[in-house]
């Protein structure tokens, strides 16, 4: 998983990293709901949320520009709609649209940058999310880059051999062949994974992770987040 900076970040040891994933997930949802329900005219509140996030990022010892840059990935999409809104004469709402989507993206990033995938899936599972869905999420994440890298190599190989030129309006032979072979290799890999699981003593049952106890510091963290979000939402 060395591809993902977020994955490396999530293995830190700051106070924020050590909080219980359930507390962080709850704080994430509280923050998102507060941002989502803030009316466009409360511009001060958006600044407040941004400061709250910056404080949390400092506490987590994460680079704020790096986080903000990644969260800015949502901006092209929201900028399009913000422009449309602005065009129809509602500039305050247009601004709020961009701010809301950016802040929401930023807080989601901060969450995954301080919580490893296994921790947040365990939190989801303790909240009774379907077992099967959690397993599929974990497998997808585990093999995402393995297979994406394979796809990348195959694409390069096909470009080297044939060039990227095409002849007809819709010439799918090369790309479809790539997808087909990629599918075949993925299928074989899944078989291999299952065999490896059997070799390691898998008996048709996944043992759920027992979550660490919810400590007082976790409750305090959640209370601070709750107070911060509610304070900004109601007062500013």
């Amino acid at each position: 998983m060395y591809h993902l900076v977020i994955d490396r970040w999530s293995r830190g040891s700051s106070p924020l990293h050590q909080r219980d994933p359930r507390a962080k997930l709850a704080a994430l949802l509280v923050f998102l709901v507060a941002v989502s329900t803030t009316p466009p005219r409360a511009q001060l509140a958006f600044a407040g949320y941004a400061i709250l996030l910056a404080l949390a990022a400092l506490r987590a010892r994460l680079p704020i520009p790096g986080l903000a840059g990644r969260a800015a990935l949502v901006l092209p999409f929201s900028a399009t709609f913000a422009l449309l809104t602005w065009w129809s004469g509602d500039s305050l709402r247009a601004l709020a649209l961009a701010e809301k989507s950016f802040l929401s993206g930023m807080v989601a990033l901060l969450f995954v940058a301080t919580t490893p995938l296994t921790a947040w899936t365990a939190a989801l599972e303790s909240w009774r999310a379907p077992r099967m869905l959690i397993l599929v999420i974990q497998f997808v994440y585990r093999y995402l880059f393995v297979i994406a890298e394979q796809a990348q190599r195959m694409r390069w190989a096909s470009v080297c051999r044939r060039g990227s030129r095409k002849r007809r309006w819709f010439d799918s032979s090369v790309a479809a062949g790539l997808v087909g072979v990629l599918f075949a290799r993925s299928w074989e890999r899944a078989d291999g994974i299952y065999n490896a699981m059997l070799a390691r003593g898998f008996r048709g049952r996944f043992v759920p992770v027992t979550p660490a106890p919810f400590r007082q510091s976790d409750a305090a963290f959640l209370a601070v987040c709750l107070a911060g979000c509610l304070g900004i939402r109601l007062l500013l």
Partner: protein, 281 residues
């Protein structure tokens, strides 16, 4: 089209979350019952495969390219419930890690792309595969994309994101084109996979009657056409919602909602009846 957070109004995203969460729970239970042990890693790897397959560019037209979106492909290969689960997992990871779609809007995105998208990809395939296989696969890919996009557009419109008529027409044309591209790519991809091993695209045993499939396809077509028709009069929608909010009493609004739902259900039922009768005739 992944909807980020901040776009949907609070009633819209809460409604979609409330619909999607139990639906996914039911689908997950069903998938757990239907999936043998050795296929559990397969579901995850297929999710990763769809992620990777989205990187492969299919040249379309002059110098442009499209890529596979994969909802219909998953539905055809894994069966509907497993495909819904895999799509949901992909959407959850995209929302949290890749900043593609929002966390609160996950319910809406899951509904559009996993539940409705997979249903719109599976039903036409199930219904027409015996008559014309590539036609059915094309319809599956195209309908799946168009349905998801129209639903997302409708949710944005209901949330009050303003869109002018010309932009709406442009985006509908875009949906149609991307639907056709997805259909063509799905046909090509399923064909290529089938040439390597026909067993892979045979699909699991169907667990649904043809009539149910016909009703489903009719419902999807009604939803898509309804969105198209409603979208041609966006000012009408806006006027209707503001009027309803301003003047109508709570009970009146509730009555209108129920009447609308009943009308949709009746149209779906009749459409399904008609289609299955025509099939048997």
């Amino acid at each position: 089209m992944h909807i980020p957070d901040g776009f949907l109004s609070t009633p819209v995203w809460t409604t979609m979350d409330v619909i999607s969460a139990p639906a996914i729970a039911v689908v997950a239970r069903r998938a757990q019952r239907e999936t043998q042990d050795h296929r559990i890693p397969l579901l995850g790897v297929m999710g990763a495969f769809v992620f990777a397959a989205q990187m492969v560019n299919f040249p379309v037209g002059l110098g442009t390219s499209g890529h596979l979106l994969g909802g219909a492909l998953l539905a055809i290969i894994l069966g509907p419930s497993a495909a819904v689960l895999v799509m949901t997992a992909i959407l959850a990871l995209q929302a949290l890690i890749f900043q593609d779609g929002g966390v609160l809007a996950l319910g809406a995105n899951v509904f559009n792309m996993a539940l409705a998208g997979v249903a719109a990809g599976y039903l036409p395939y199930r219904l027409w595969a015996e008559r014309s296989r590539s036609g059915a696969i094309f319809a599956a890919g195209a309908l799946s994309v168009i349905t998801s996009a129209c639903l997302a557009l409708a949710q944005l419109l209901i949330s009050g994101v303003p869109m002018r008529g010309s932009i709406l027409w442009a985006s509908l044309a875009l949906f149609l084109v991307s639907g056709i591209i997805e259909g063509a790519i799905t046909v090509a991809a399923v064909g290529a996979i089938g040439r390597l091993n026909p067993g892979w695209v045979a699909g699991p045993e169907p667990s649904m009657s043809r009539t149910a499939a016909a009703v489903g396809v009719a419902a999807i077509v009604v939803v898509v056409i309804g969105t198209l028709v409603a979208s041609t009069a966006p000012d009408g929608i806006q006027r209707l919602t503001t009027q309803a909010l301003d003047s109508a009493s709570w009970s009146e609004r509730a009555f209108r909602g129920v009447a609308g739902l009943a009308l949709i259900a009746a149209v779906c039922y009749l459409g399904g009846k008609l289609m299955s009768r025509r099939r048997s005739a």
